[in-house]
C-alpha cells in the first residue's frame, strides 16, 4: 500500500481554511512529497462550511484518498461533522477555548489548543489557524524552519512585525504540541525532487500559454474562473490578449474572430455557459475556424450545484450545436494532464480546422496536485496545420474551401494580398460564395458536407487509441474517463491487496473514440464495470451507441462529490459477488 498522510481542515467560509492549506501544500512539496488537495465548499463567501483535504506522501497521490490522519477543526461545526472520520492513530487539533470535543473513536488523539493562553487573540484574528499549523507540523515530525519560511512568504507583502508575530504564534503552537501531544507514528519523509503545486485551472491556462494561445476570453463561471484569473494576471508577461466578455455567446464568437485572424484562441466556461456557446461552436465547424473551448463541469442541470463536481456534460458536448460536423473532445486524466492536453488538442484542431472541447471538471479545475516541473514543458510540439501566412509564390484563384481528399483546405489568414475570401456560417461553395443559388444546390451541398466530414478519418488517425493498463487476465476491468483516472488506479491497488486482480481502461480522447480498439480490448475482459461521476451513465450510453458494447456493471456517483478509492473497491466486490450491477456509493464527508 502506498504510504500517505491526509490533513483535513474545516471551518466556515472566511475563517481562513485556504491559507493553512496553501502552507501545508508548500511545505510538503518542498520536502519532495507529492500533494493532492481537494476543497469541498459551498456557494457562499462568508459562513457555511468548507472542508479542505490535503493528502501527501512520497509516492504519487492521485486522489483525496480514504482516510483522514489529522483533522484541524476551526469551528464546532467541523468537529461535529468530521470527527467520526478519524480512525486509530489519527488526531484532531482544535481551539480549546471555543470548541467542545466530540466522542472520538478508540486510539484517536484529541488535541485541544489553549489559544488565548498561547497567543494574543485581540491582535491576531487567525491565531488559532497559525497555532494549529505549528502544532500539526510538530506532530508530523517536520522541523520548524520550513514553516518559518512559508509564513514569511505568506505575509511577505506586509511588514516584518506581522511576519514576526505570526512566526511567534506558530512557534508557540509548535512547542506546545511537542510537549503535550503525541507525534504521529509515521513522520513525514523527505525526497530530493521538488514539485510545483498547481490547480487544474492554472494548468489549463499554462497549457494554453505553452500551446501558443495568444487570445483568451471568458465570462466568470465556477469552476472555470481560475483559468481566467491565471490568464488575466499573466497576460502581459505571456503576451496574451485577455478579455472578460459580456456573456458566453460573446465569448465564443470573440474567440472565433481572433482565431480567424490567425492566432490560437481559447476560452473556458462551465456547463451553463457552454450551453450559450453551442451556436458559436457550429460557426467554428461550418466556417472551419479552429478554436478550443474548455468546459469545467459542475453538477447540473441548470445552475445545479455550482461548487460541486460531476461528469454530466458529455452528451451536451456530443450534441452541441445542430447539424453534423467534425469535432474533437478530450478529457484530461489529472491536473498535470490539464497542462499537457492543451497543446495536443490545439495541434489536432489546427490541422483539421474544427472546434475542440476539453472536458474538465471541478475536481481537477479547483483541486491541487504536485507536478514535476519537468512535465510543465513550455516548448511543446506545435503544428498549425495547412496555414498560409504570406503571399509567397504566385497561385491560382484561392479557394478557402477547396475540396481535397483529406477534407482539409489550406487556410489563408486575413491580411495577405491575393487571398481575399469570405468565410461563412451559411453553406457555401469552394470559394466561400454564400448566396442561396449556390448553397441550395444539392450537388454542392453534398460535396461540401462530405469534404468536412472526411476530416473525421484524419482526426481519428491523429490521436492515439486508449490502452489497457494492468494484468491482461484480470478478474475485472474498470473503465473510466477523464478525472477518475487516479482514483480508479488506487482502487485497483487496494483490490489487489484483497486478492482481486483488476485492470483499467481510461478514456482520454472521447471523440474520436477508437471504438473498435475499445471493443477489441474489452472482449477479452472477464468482467467489465464502467465508473463515472454522473447519474445516467453518460459514457456507458455513448460507448454502447458507438460500439453496441454493454458492460457487466456500473459504478456511478452523482452527489456532487468525487469518488474515493474505497467507494470503488466496495462496489467492485459487491458486483463480483453478484449482488448488483449498479452501485451508487454513499459519500461520507458531508459539506
Amino acid at each position: 500500500m502506498r504510504q500517505s498522510f491526509t490533513v483535513g481542515i474545516g471551518g466556515a467560509a472566511g475563517q481562513g481554511v485556504a491559507t493553512p492549506g496553501d502552507i501545508f501544500a508548500k511545505i510538503f512539496s518542498r520536502r519532495g512529497l507529492h500533494v493532492n488537495a481537494y476543497n469541498a465548499y459551498q456557494s457562499i463567501i462568508r459562513g457555511g462550511h468548507t472542508f479542505l483535504m490535503i493528502r501527501t506522501g512520497p509516492d504519487p497521490v492521485t486522489n483525496m484518498g480514504d482516510r483522514l490522519d489529522l483533522l484541524i477543526a476551526l469551528n464546532q461545526d467541523t468537529m461535529d461533522r468530521h470527527l467520526g472520520l478519524l480512525t486509530e492513530g489519527g488526531a484532531c487539533l482544535y481551539n480549546a477555548d471555543q470548541i467542545k470535543p466530540g466522542t472520538a473513536a478508540a486510539g484517536v488523539q484529541l488535541c485541544p489548543i489553549p489559544v488565548s493562553k498561547l497567543a494574543d487573540i485581540s491582535k491576531n484574528k487567525v491565531a488559532q489557524n497559525t497555532l494549529a499549523l505549528g502544532a500539526a507540523l510538530s506532530m508530523m515530525g517536520i522541523g520548524f524552519p520550513a514553516l518559518e519560511v512559508a509564513l514569511a512568504e505568506q505575509f511577505g507583502k506586509k511588514d516584518q512585525a506581522v511576519i514576526d508575530e505570526n512566526v511567534n504564534v506558530a512557534r508557540a503552537g509548535y512547542d506546545y504540541a511537542s510537549q503535550n501531544f503525541k507525534p504521529f507514528a509515521w513522520p513525514l519523509p523527505m525526497t530530493d525532487t521538488k514539485y510545483a503545486v498547481l490547480s487544474g485551472n492554472a494548468a489549463l491556462a499554462m497549457g494554453g500559454a505553452a500551446a501558443g494561445v495568444k487570445f483568451y476570453c471568458a465570462y466568470p463561471m465556477s469552476p472555470s474562473t481560475g483559468v481566467l484569473h491565471w490568464m488575466a494576471s499573466h497576460a502581459r508577461k505571456a503576451g496574451i490578449v485577455v478579455r472578460q466578455v459580456e456573456d458566453e455567446i460573446g465569448v465564443i464568437n470573440m474567440a472565433i474572430g481572433a482565431a480567424q485572424a490567425g492566432v490560437r484562441s481559447m476560452c473556458a466556461t462551465s456547463g451553463g455557459g457552454f450551453a450559450l456557446m453551442s451556436e458559436g461552436l457550429g460557426l467554428s465547424a461550418q466556417a472551419e475556424i479552429p478554436v478550443v473551448v474548455i468546459d469545467c463541469q459542475r453538477a447540473g442541470p441548470s445552475t445545479g450545484v455550482p461548487t460541486k463536481t460531476e461528469q454530466g456534460d458529455l452528451w451536451q458536448m456530443l450534441g452541441a450545436a445542430f447539424g453534423d460536423y467534425p469535432r474533437v473532445i478530450a478529457a484530461p486524466l489529472d491536473i498535470g494532464d490539464c497542462f499537457t492536453l492543451i497543446p495536443e488538442i490545439f495541434n489536432v484542431v489546427d490541422r483539421f480546422q474544427c472546434p475542440g472541447i476539453v472536458l474538465c471538471d471541478l475536481l481537477l479545475s479547483e483541486g491541487r496536485l504536485s507536478v514535476d516541473p519537468k512535465n510543465l514543458d513550455f516548448q511543446p510540439h506545435i503544428d498549425r496545420g495547412d496555414l498560409i501566412t504570406s503571399n509567397g509564390e504566385p497561385h491560382e484563384e484561392y479557394k478557402r474551401y477547396l475540396i481535397t481528399e483529406s477534407g482539409v483546405s489550406p487556410r489563408a489568414i486575413p491580411g495577405i494580398p491575393g487571398f481575399t475570401h469570405v468565410v461563412s456560417s451559411d453553406e457555401h461553395d469552394e470559394n466561400g460564395v454564400l448566396i442561396s443559388d449556390e448553397y441550395t444546390n444539392a450537388t454542392k451541398r453534398r460535396a461540401m458536407m462530405e469534404k468536412r466530414m472526411r476530416k473525421v478519418e484524419g482526426i481519428e488517425k491523429s490521436v492515439p487509441p486508449p490502452e489497457l493498463t494492468g494484468p491482461a487476465d484480470a478478474d475485472v476491468t474498470l473503465i473510466g474517463w477523464g478525472s477518475t483516472w487516479g482514483v480508479i488506479e488506487e482502487a485497483i491497488e487496494l483490490l489487489r491487496e484483497e486478492g482481486i486482480s483488476a485492470n483499467q481502461l481510461q478514456i482520454r480522447w472521447l471523440v474520436p473514440l477508437h471504438g473498435d480498439t475499445i471493443v477489441k480490448i474489452l472482449k477479452n475482459s472477464r468482467h467489465t464495470i464502467i465508473v463515472e461521476n454522473n447519474f445516467s451513465g453518460q459514457f456507458a450510453r455513448y460507448l454502447r451507441s458507438e460500439t453496441s458494447f454493454v458492460p457487466n456493471g456500473h459504478i456511478r456517483k452523482y452527489d456532487g462529490e468525487p469518488f474515493m478509492p474505497h467507494h470503488i473497491v466496495e462496489a467492485v466486490k459487491e458486483q463480483l459477488a453478484g449482488n448488483t450491477n449498479l452501485s451508487v456509493p454513499v459519500h461520507e464527508i458531508t459539506v
Partner: protein, 298 residues
Amino acid sequence: MATDVITPKQMVMADLKGKVDPDWCPGCGDFGVLAAVQKALVELQIPKHEVMTISGIGCSSNFPGFIDTYGMHTLHGRSLPVASGMKLANHAMTVLVTGGDGDGFGIGAGHFVHTMRRNLDLTYIVMDNQIYGLTTGQTSPTSRVGMKTKSMPFGNVDAPTNPVSLALSAGATFVARGFSADQKHLTELIKRAIEHKGFSFLDVFSPCVTYNHDNTFQWFRPRVKKLEDNPAYDPSDWQAAIEKSLLWGDEIPIGLFFERNDIPTAHDADPVLKSGPLVHQNSRIPADVAKSFIDELM
C-alpha cells in the same frame, strides 16, 4: 516573383466587386450602402487585403459576399464579438461590420451596448430598414408603434428603440446616421467613420422595398435633414447630440451626431499590443518567462 516591388496600382470600384452580384430585391436600400462603402474604400485607397468585412445574418448581412475584401459571414446578432476578436488579434486590418436592425438591435443588442463601451476601432454600419426582411416581414426593434406586419397584424405594440441615442449613451465615440439614397453624404460619413480612431456607429436608413410600406424612400426623402447644413451644430457636444437624436417625425436628422477623439482605442490601450498586431507576435513563451511561471508554484 511575387516578392518584387510592384508600383501600387490605384484601386478602383471594379477591384472591390464581389464574386457574385447581390441577390437583394431590385430597389433595395442596401445597394446604396454597398456602393457607398466601396466608394469610401476607393477614395481612402485602403488596399482590399487589409479590409475585413464582418456581418451577422439577414438580407443586409449578406454584404461581405458582395464586396471583394476579406470577409466573415457569422451568426445572427454576433458580428460585433467576432469583429472584436478579429480586431484585437490583428489591429492592422480595417474592420467593417455590416448588418441590419434586427441583427444589431434585436438579437445582438447586448453585444452592441458592450462593444461600444470598449472603444474598439471598428466601423459598424447598420442597414436599418425597420423590418425583418429575410424572414419575410416581421416587426423589428426599430419598427414604429402601430406598424402592421405578419408578426404583429394588429400593429406593433412595442415602442421602437432609438439606435442613435442608445449609441450615444453607451459610449460610442463616433455616432452618425445616413440615408442610402444620399450617396455622396453617406460616402463621406463612411469615410469619416473608417478614419475615426475608435468605435464608429453608423445607422443608415436603407428602405426595404418589399416588406416595409411605411418607411419608404419617399417617406424619408422630405424628412431627412443634414446636421452639417447647420453651421452652429457642434458634433463634439454630447448633450446637443442627445437632443438631436430624439428628433423623429417631420424632421429626422442625418449626419455626424457626435465624435470624440480623446479616448484611446482598445488596441492602443492594451500593453500586449504595443509591439504590433497580435497575429504577428511570437507565440512561444520565452524560457525565462516560462521559468518564472513555474517558480511561482514551487
